[in-house]
């Protein structure tokens, strides 16, 4: 794929209901596939999105029907970008305990942020802590695309 590839863009908002994002993540996965992304790359992006969107609904908007989760996304053959913003009071990601520390290994939660960071090239949170921006840049965009 080349830098001249068309960029697919999406802007939408989702209900604050767990599972409301599933059709969106499926749509993004098929768009990535159409842009030549590999299966393992799509897996990582889907996982990062899953964790961000679930966090936004559960921890951000606290499943409040009156609040929405706002999503913007851009996909090209070499770059994935997404912004996920909830209407909650925000959080401080640096205060989330490291789940890989021995004393936290058996904690039931707290792994989402680690997974998001692991699969993305760059992850940033706004100052308020209610908006996360994901970026993944392909290192080998010429690899065999997903089947």
């Amino acid at each position: 794929m080349t830098a001249g590839d068309p960029v697919w863009r999406l802007e939408t908002s989702l209900a604050s209901r767990l599972g409301a994002h599933l059709s969106l993540t499926a749509q993004i996965a098929s768009t990535l596939q159409a842009h030549g992304w590999c299966e393992n790359e799509i897996f990582g992006i889907q996982l990062a999105l899953e964790e961000c969107l679930t966090n936004a609904v559960r921890h951000g908007n606290k499943e409040d029907d009156a609040k929405r989760v706002h999503v913007r996304c851009e996909i090209s053959g070499r770059r994935f970008w997404a912004e996920i913003r909830d209407e909650g009071s925000g959080f401080r990601p640096e205060q989330v305990p490291d789940p890989t520390e021995e004393e936290n290994l058996t904690a039931v939660g707290g792994r989402g942020i680690l997974l998001i960071r692991s699969y993305m090239t760059d992850v940033t949170y706004n100052e308020h802590g209610n908006c996360v921006t994901l970026l993944k840049v392909r290192q080998n965009p010429g690899r065999t695309p997903a089947k």
């Binding site: 599972g19 599933l22 889907q46 996982l47 964790e51 679930t54 890989t100 904690a107």
Partner: protein
């Protein structure tokens, strides 16, 4: 025996082999249901040796990992042994990133797990 909707249960001698119905373990309601069915295996059924075969699982979220961790805690309380098998590389990477490969006993396949038991 109760009906299971999220798992398939088979038995071989005293070993219980579990396979997952969902290829993508994502939906919150399904994950809750999955958790209850897994916990029942150790809490009510008191199955001593359990193999969780992930061969059909293509995707799981951290919420699903949470259920596995809770199951592992309950298993230790009740003296059950759990072994995870047939984890595809993408899923294994999730276990490695979160260092849960150190918490769980993971084997390549069912035969390896049965050899441990």
């Amino acid at each position: 025996m109760s009906n299971h909707r999220r798992i398939q249960v088979s038995e071989s001698n005293d070993v219980t082999v579990i396979r997952f119905v969902d290829r993508k373990i994502l939906d919150e309601a399904n994950i809750q249901e999955l958790g209850q069915e897994l916990f029942q295996l150790v809490e009510q059924d008191r199955r001593p040796k359990i193999v969780l075969n992930f061969t059909d699982v293509e995707f799981l979220s951290s919420a699903a990992l949470g259920k596995l961790i809770t199951m592992d805690k309950k298993a230790k309380q009740h003296g059950s042994q759990i072994i995870l098998t047939n984890i595809r590389p993408e899923i294994y990477e999730v276990f490695a990133i979160t260092k849960l490969n150190r918490l769980f006993n993971i084997k390549d396949d069912e035969a390896d797990a049965l050899a441990v038991f």
